[in-house]
Symmetry: C2
Subunit: 408 residues, 2 copies
C-alpha cells in the first residue's frame, strides 16, 4: 500500500465522460489498497475562456481579480470529480487551494507555494477518502486567492506529493510520456522511457508542455519520484523522470527538441553603450515581476547600442509600458516589441561529452534559410529564437539532423 | 452621504457589456459621495449550466460538491465587476462569501446565513473602495462552501445591508419594479409603486421571481429599507417595499398574482387512515431537508386514505426515493409523483376586509374549465394547484377578474 498523488490535466478532465474515466482509474488504485490524493486542472479550454472574459473588461486584467476569476476553473473540476467518485461508491472530498490550505506568496498570476497544510488531507485519507485538490491555486497570508501560473497544476501535484511524502507523483496527461519532441509537429517523434531530471527541467522550461518547469524543480528539490502517463490508455509505464543520469547505459547526444511560442521580443534601441545599462533596462522589468528569458546586447556603435530580450507574450504590453515609463532615464531612442517569434531548443546531457552540436544546429537551420535572431546556451541545451513562421520547419529538420527520427 | 448596498441579478450582469454598465452606475453613486457595497449574482445562465454539468455526473448531485461547483458562478462575476470599476478609475475589491466571511449553517444548497463579519468591508469602505461580494454563497463553520438556494443573492444583499446597517438595499433586476403579475404572461400587468412587506413576502414565496422569500423575511426582521429597481433604466424609483400597510390610502383587494412552476406533486396512495400518518409520511421528507409546501389528505374510505403534497421539482426524485424507503412502514399501496403542475396565487392585504375573494377565484377558473387539484390559503393569499398547461390562461383570467388590468 502506497500513498500516490495523481495529477490530471485539462484534457484528461475535458468532458464529464472523461472525468468519469478518471474516477474509474482512481477507484482502481484505491481498490488496490493505495491512498490517493488527486490534483486536477480546469476542464480544457475553461481557463482560456475565463481569461478572454476578463480581457473583455480590461485589456491588462487586474492580477488579483484575474486570479479570483480563473481559479474557478479548477473549482468546478474538483466538485465534478468528487461526485464522479461518489457515484461509483468511492468516498471522496474536494478542496480548493484555500481550503487545503496551500499557502503561497502574493505574486498574483504567478504565485509560489510556501507551505501546504497536510492535516485535513491526512485525516481524510485515514478515514478512507480520496482527497481531491484544485490544482493551480492557493491563498496568500491575507486570504487572497492566488494562482501559480500556466501549468501550475503540475506544481500543485508535485508539491502535494512533497508535503505528504508520497511514494510517487503520477502526472496524467493527453500524451503517454515524454517525447523527443511534440508529435503533432514531428510525427516521427519517439517516446522516451526515461529522461534525466536535468533534461526534463530544460525541456519543460523551454516549452515542452508535458510538465511545468516549476513542478520539475520542485520534484528535484524534494526528491519526488515523478512519472508522466497517459490518462487515455489503460496500460503503459509512461516516462519516468530519473535522478541518476548515469543509469542510462547509452546516452544519445540530444534527447529532445523543445519549442515555445509564448515569448515575445523587446528591442530597446539606441541606448548609451555604458556599464550598468542592462540593469537600468531590466531592473524596472524585474520590479514589475516580469520574467526575462533570453538577453542580447549588440556591439555598440557611436557610443550607443541596441538591447533585446524576451518576455512572456502575455507580459509584452505591460513590459513595454514599464520601459516607456523609464525611457527618458535610460535614454533609449526607441522601444518596440515583436510577438511573432518562437524559441527552438535542443536538449541532451550527452551534449557535455560531444563537440560540434552547436555547429550542427546552426548549419541545419542555415540550410533551410532560417535566420537566427538570438542564441542562448547552457551545459545541456542550446536555444535559438527564430521567426515564428519557421517553427515547424526548424523542429522537423533538427529532429532529423540529430538522429531522433531513427528507431532505437 | 449614505451607505448603500446594491444587488445586481444575473440578467443585469449577463454580459461583460452589462457588467460595464453596472460599474458605471456604481461609479455614479460613489461620485455622489455614497459608500457602496455590491452583491452580485452569476452571469445569467451560468448557474444552470453548472448544475447541468453536475447532473451529467450525478443525477442527484452530492450537495456539498454541488455547492463547490455552482458557487464559482458568482466568483467570476465579482472579479469581472471589480475589474470594470478599476478600469474606470474606481478602486474596488472583490470577496467570495468565504472571504468576507458570510457564515452559514451546513445545509448545502439551501444554507442560512448566521453571521457576517463586517470588519474587512468597513476598512475597505473607509479606504474609499467599493466592496463587491459574491451573492448566493457562504461558508460553514468548518470552511465548507455553502450556497443559499435559488435567488440567494437577494438574501446576501439584504443580509449585507442588515450587517452594515445600510441606509438602503437596492435590488437591481431586469424589471423596473414589482408588477401585479409577470408581464411576460399578462401584458396588461402594471407596476406597483409600493407594496406592503407582507404582500411582497407572499408574492416572493409564491413564485414571483422579483425577490427571494428569505431576502424579504430578512429585510423585515432587520428593518432593511428595500427597493426593487431596473438595472437597464437610468431613471425610475422602482417599487418600495413598505412596512406600514396603513400608509396606503386605498387598498386594492388583490395586489398581485404570483405563479410557480417549480413544484411537483407527490401522491401517497392507500395509507391507513389513522392519526399520525401525516407525520409518518412527512417526517422522513423533512429529515431529508426537503421543503414541503401544500398538503392535502383525502377523506378516508375503507380505513385507507390518499395523501398528497408538493415539493420543489428538483427534489422530486429524492423525495420519492425517501418515501419508497419508508413505504413498508407507512403501509402505502402506491407512491407516485407528478411534475406537470403549477401553482397560481392571488395576494392582497385587502383580502382581509373583503369577502367573496375565494369564490370569485374558483368561479373564474371553473368558467375556463380549469380543474383545481389543491387549495391552500393564508390571511392575505389563496393558492391553487392546477395542471401546468393552464398556467398562462389561469393567470390571465384572474388578472382580469380582479381588476388588475385597469389603469389606476
Amino acid at each position: 500500500m502506497a500513498l500516490i498523488v495523481q495529477k490530471y490535466g485539462g484534457t484528461s478532465v475535458g468532458t464529464t465522460e472523461r472525468i468519469k474515466n478518471v474516477a474509474r482509474r482512481v477507484a482502481k488504485f484505491k481498490a488496490e489498497g493505495h491512498d490517493i490524493v488527486v490534483a486536477v486542472s480546469a476542464m480544457s479550454g475553461e481557463t482560456n475562456k475565463l481569461i478572454a472574459l476578463a480581457k473583455e473588461i480590461q485589456a491588462n486584467p487586474d492580477p488579483r481579480e484575474l486570479d479570483v476569476i480563473v481559479s474557478t476553473g479548477e473549482q468546478v473540476t474538483i466538485g465534478l470529480l468528487a461526485m464522479a467518485l461518489k457515484e461509483i461508491g468511492v468516498d471522496a472530498v474536494s478542496y480548493t487551494g484555500g481550503q487545503v490550505k496551500i499557502l503561497t506568496d502574493s505574486a498574483h498570476t504567478k504565485a509560489r507555494i510556501q507551505h501546504i497544510d497536510d492535516g485535513a488531507m491526512r485525516s481524510d485519507l485515514a478515514a478512507g477518502k480520496v482527497v481531491i485538490v484544485a490544482g493551480f491555486q492557493g491563498v496568500d497570508a491575507e486570504g487572497n486567492i492566488t494562482t501559480l501560473g500556466r501549468g501550475g497544476s503540475d506544481t500543485t501535484g508535485v508539491a502535494l506529493a512533497a508535503a505528504l511524502k508520497a511514494d510517487e507523483c503520477q502526472i496524467y496527461t493527453d500524451v503517454d510520456g515524454v517525447y523527443t519532441t511534440d508529435p503533432r509537429v514531428v510525427p516521427e517523434a519517439r517516446k522516451l522511457t526515461t529522461i534525466t531530471f536535468e533534461e526534463m527541467l530544460e525541456m519543460a522550461s523551454l516549452g515542452s508542455k508535458v510538465l511545468q518547469t516549476r513542478s520539475v524543480e520542485f520534484a528535484g528539490k524534494y526528491n519526488v519520484k515523478l512519472r508522466v502517463l497517459s490518462s487515455f490508455q489503460e496500460e503503459g509505464e509512461g516516462t519516468l523522470i530519473t535522478f541518476e543520469e548515469d543509469s542510462k547505459m547509452e546516452k544519445p547526444v540530444i534527447s529532445g527538441i523543445a519549442f515555445n511560442r509564448d515569448e515575445a521580443r523587446i528591442n530597446v534601441i539606441g541606448v548609451p553603450d555604458k556599464p550598468g545599462i542592462a540593469y537600468q533596462i531590466l531592473g524596472p522589468v524585474a520590479d514589475a515581476n516580469i520574467d526575462v528569458d533570453m538577453i542580447i546586447q549588440n556591439v555598440g556603435q557611436d557610443g550607443t547600442t541596441d538591447f533585446s530580450f524576451t518576455v512572456p507574450k502575455n507580459d509584452l504590453g505591460r513590459a513595454i509600458k514599464v520601459l516607456e515609463g523609464a525611457q527618458s532615464q535610460i535614454s533609449a531612442r526607441q522601444i518596440n516589441g515583436d510577438d511573432k517569434i518562437c524559441k527552438v531548443s535542443i536538449v541532451g546531457v550527452g551534449m557535455r561529452s560531444h563537440v560540434g552540436v552547436a555547429s550542427t544546429m546552426f548549419r541545419t537551420l542555415a540550410e533551410e534559410g532560417i535566420n537566427i535572431q538570438m542564441i542562448s546556451t547552457s551545459e545541456i541545451k542550446i536555444s535559438v529564437v527564430v521567426d515564428e513562421k519557421y517553427l515547424e520547419l526548424a523542429v522537423r529538420v533538427l529532429h532529423k539532423a540529430f538522429g531522433l527520427d531513427a528507431i532505437q
